[in-house]
Subunit: 340 residues, 2 copies
Amino acid sequence: MATIGDVAQAAGVSRSTASYALSGKRAISADVRRRVEDAVRQLGYTPNAGARALATSQTMVIGLLAQFLEDEFAPAMLQYMLGVSNTARELGYDILLVSDADGTRALRRITDSRMVDGVVLLNVAERDERLPILRSAAQPGALVGLPADCTGVDVFDLDFEEAGRLMVDHLHRLGHREMALVSQPEHVIERGGAYVWRLQNAALEAARARGITLHTVSASSHQPDVGQDLSALLDTYPDVTGLLINNEAAAAALPTVLHQRGLTAPSDLSVVGRYSDEFARTFSLPYSSIESAPDRLGRMAVRQLVRRIEGDVAADEPHVVRFVTPELVDRGSTGVPRPA
Amino acid sequence: MATIGDVAQAAGVSRSTASYALSGKRAISADVRRRVEDAVRQLGYTPNAGARALATSQTMVIGLLAQFLEDEFAPAMLQYMLGVSNTARELGYDILLVSDADGTRALRRITDSRMVDGVVLLNVAERDERLPILRSAAQPGALVGLPADCTGVDVFDLDFEEAGRLMVDHLHRLGHREMALVSQPEHVIERGGAYVWRLQNAALEAARARGITLHTVSASSHQPDVGQDLSALLDTYPDVTGLLINNEAAAAALPTVLHQRGLTAPSDLSVVGRYSDEFARTFSLPYSSIESAPDRLGRMAVRQLVRRIEGDVAADEPHVVRFVTPELVDRGSTGVPRPA
DNA sequence: CTGAAAGCGCTTACAG
DNA sequence: CTGAAAGCGCTTACAG
């Protein structure tokens, strides 16, 4: 493989001149520039990334820490990954994908060894074990998901409180007085999946404030259990007229469940979900939903991360915690409640 | 960050001794080894990956080229990615994830700049534009998917011909005499998704040999179109008693379609799919299916790639083309045909 | 506008 | 069993 030395030799200049001609970091005569460029073309020269990283302390690589947990719905994770990956590439960065079960060790490994210039953490828990490691790392980090302690990192998340209120308000306004909220499995909450109870608590509070009944249930994140959970819910609360779904697997299972029971939305039951538009299309989900905006969140996280990496942000500039305002995408699955 | 120089100084030895003590590549006195190890611990030393890569010409990183094409079903791709990623990690390698729309440029970039020691290509087409680039790269490559020309690369794929025969034979043995095969959209074939017609041609041939009727149709890879395609198929061929599904989106949509039409498998219709067990669980698909084994294929590809990278394979050892034998996972969705 | 030199942090022949 | 030195391929002050 050709090196910058080969290029310099072919162009009849020094290595430093060749380097500067390529980087444009100092004035170069038109003639020399042309000779260098010709040499690059002829030799098929591409800089060695490792050597450049060593010289500049910049790898142009971003670490992406994804975790595929047994009790979460993998296809939903993919969307965040693609949002991060695509934005990174637009900004000139490559992605080191880390899907280790042990995220803490992996995070330490890639930061300590300087494989990455910065890190994006997906699926952040309330007390995420990866955070202390990230804080002590030399590289900046951006999170998708809100932890209890946000010091030292930039944080991006959907405003799940607002999402909960929005779901309740929307159905309340249509006249619903008894609804049920389907959340993730208990262990997601126990593990610190804060978004579950953030949405749930805000929904409960909104329901209380409006004097309406809101039942809350956890449902499995796996088929076919989740279908049975949904069926059980409808059996237990026959007077429910509105369903709020904060569980991707449940949303994917609902069409079949409703079919089996001969129910139609919105005439028998109003339904509002919380998932991405892409997810809705993939699974053909006909329900109005709060857009969870994974691509947008991934994009925001990478943008801010790159700003920090490239020093466009003063080192003492405070870290941000930014929420995406939930928006309801109307797919026509809500209406006035059926007569009692 | 501590360097090997700091470690050497703290241990009172030379840098080379420190390096050898850590690599174990030459005999070291017990005393020195201990002092070096203590220094490493105290300083929290981790080797700089870029520097090591420059010195050894080994990055310990594998490039993973995934493409998320508009007309393919993204969740299915994820499984291959995880198979590759997990196996790589077990073998000590990290994954550089490349999801660029323009796979050729990206491939050239990561190989020319020596960011990776080898490359895994996913979703390989009949005449894949990435292959010429891979062949001229310095690093070895492994494919998941069978191209027309396999020279210079190791290839792993499901035996789609055998899968097609297996599907037809299975239903034929149960007594079915008229079936339909649902394939991917036309443009997947046009783009060179050879697995589509490899399975289809073998199925057609098996049907001819046994004197039975096999209709073939392409269905969309998106909801809700695919559901309509399936409905149209059932309208067009009312005498079909067996359905072969080589299209993940169609498999995911089928339960709803059958429900709508009041059909049950296997009493009204026998169904055999082709997807992974993980996929079946995620989508709660109740159909017997040919296991597509994405995790196993990813694992095989990485294993062989690492053997080449690490030179466990003679440079002149011929490249392999290895097929995974399809196996039918019985989920009880096939039986004798309904009476005419 | 250009060149010679130092340095990034490792590994590994070469010498003893 | 250990050390001094060269080299991997870049970038970037320093000098002119």
